[in-house]
């Protein structure tokens, strides 16, 4: 007698430490909320990496704000809490993982995405730009810097992003760029005093 009830056990799997979700027969799976999927399908720029990134980033940023606010201001959460919540959300959606590094005042996100890996900046810059917009309520300029094994996303002011782009084009590595930004920015402030 055939089994009439569908057993979902084991069909959808999660590997949280790597930020991956899976279904049988696929290299990975991504959990998309209906709102995100509809926005991707109806946006004018179509479902390319940037369109997917903006829809996902706004969604994730809003969820982060909700989870970290807890009756107060989400921006008052510790950096550790932010990274933990970010990685949890990225993992259950099957989107990878990320770490946050600070070099003085400069900040880098070292991302290991699971989708649009080859798209690089075309996906990661709108993803984290929209994510921080959804989290803080205002734009956070981002610039992807090349890094072996991962993609580094620099967060900074427009002036800092412009300076970082110059250094990147000169072949300077992400960590050195972040350090230089902190040093040059501090030197600029001290010189103005």
């Amino acid at each position: 007698m055939p089994e009439d009830r569908f057993d979902p056990g084991g069909y959808l799997t999660f590997e949280l430490s790597r930020g991956r979700a899976g279904v049988p027969g696929a290299v990975g799976a991504v959990i998309l909320p209906v709102e995100v999927l509809e926005r991707i399908a109806t946006d004018g720029d179509g479902g390319g990496p940037a369109g997917v990134a903006r829809a996902l980033g706004e969604w994730l940023g809003a969820r982060l704000r909700e989870r970290l606010a807890s009756g107060g201001n989400a921006a008052d959460a510790s950096p550790e809490s932010f990274v933990s919540a970010l990685n949890g959300l990225l993992a259950v959606h099957g989107l990878g993982r990320a770490a946050l590094e600070t070099y003085g005042d400069a900040a880098l996100i070292r991302a290991e995405p699971t989708i649009f890996v080859k798209a690089g900046a075309a996906f990661l810059e709108p993803l984290f730009g929209s994510l921080f917009h959804g989290f803080l309520g205002h734009e956070v300029p981002c610039l992807v810097l090349d890094a072996p094994g991962a993609s580094c996303v620099l967060l900074g002011s427009p002036a800092a992003i412009r300076r970082a782009a110059q250094l990147k084009s000169a072949g300077v590595g992400p960590e050195t760029i972040a350090t230089r930004l902190h040093q040059e920015s501090r030197a600029l402030r001290e010189g103005k005093r």
Partner: protein, 153 residues
């Protein structure tokens, strides 16, 4: 029936007498046998105690074993509520990321790495620096510092 040993003894001896006479007459054809009118009544002897019937024993009938029959299972219906099933989580140690390159010689800026080793665990903050610059206490402070880079104030 009243047992009378003397009368019965007399009857038995009479019977024995006729039997002896019959035996005497055997071999003499034509001799007429006297008709037997004796009857032997049963003798009731006193029963030995061991043979007396014992008291009646009422044997209760053993109750029939109870067989509990489970109610039939409900018919299988398609489930409309599917509980989410989460496979066991494989928590692998995070691959070590090479430490950022040292800064320019004029100032040693060591990075602080903030990462969640596993989303279900507390995040780990790695500070490798001998020179620990101002460490932001909140994510708002951290992002605010980044957004103020190269600003005059």
């Amino acid at each position: 029936m009243t047992p009378d040993p003397e009368a019965k003894k007399a009857k038995l001896e009479a019977i024995l007498g006729r039997l002896r006479a019959n035996r005497t007459n055997l071999g003499h054809p034509g001799a007429a046998l006297p008709p037997s009118t004796d009857s032997v009544e049963p003798v009731t002897l006193p029963l030995h105690a061991a043979h007396r019937p014992g008291p009646a024993v009422a044997v209760a009938a053993a109750p029939a074993p109870l067989v509990e029959v489970a109610p039939p299972p409900p018919p299988l219906l398609p489930s409309t509520t599917v509980s989410p099933t989460v496979a066991p989580v494989s928590v692998a140690a995070a691959a070590p990321v090479p430490a950022p390159a040292p800064a320019e010689p004029e100032e040693e800026v060591r990075p602080q790495r903030i990462e969640a080793v596993a989303p279900v665990e507390a995040p780990v903050v790695r500070t490798s620096g001998a020179v620990v610059l101002h460490r932001p206490r909140t994510i708002g402070e951290l992002l605010g510092a980044a957004l103020r880079l190269f600003e005059k104030s």
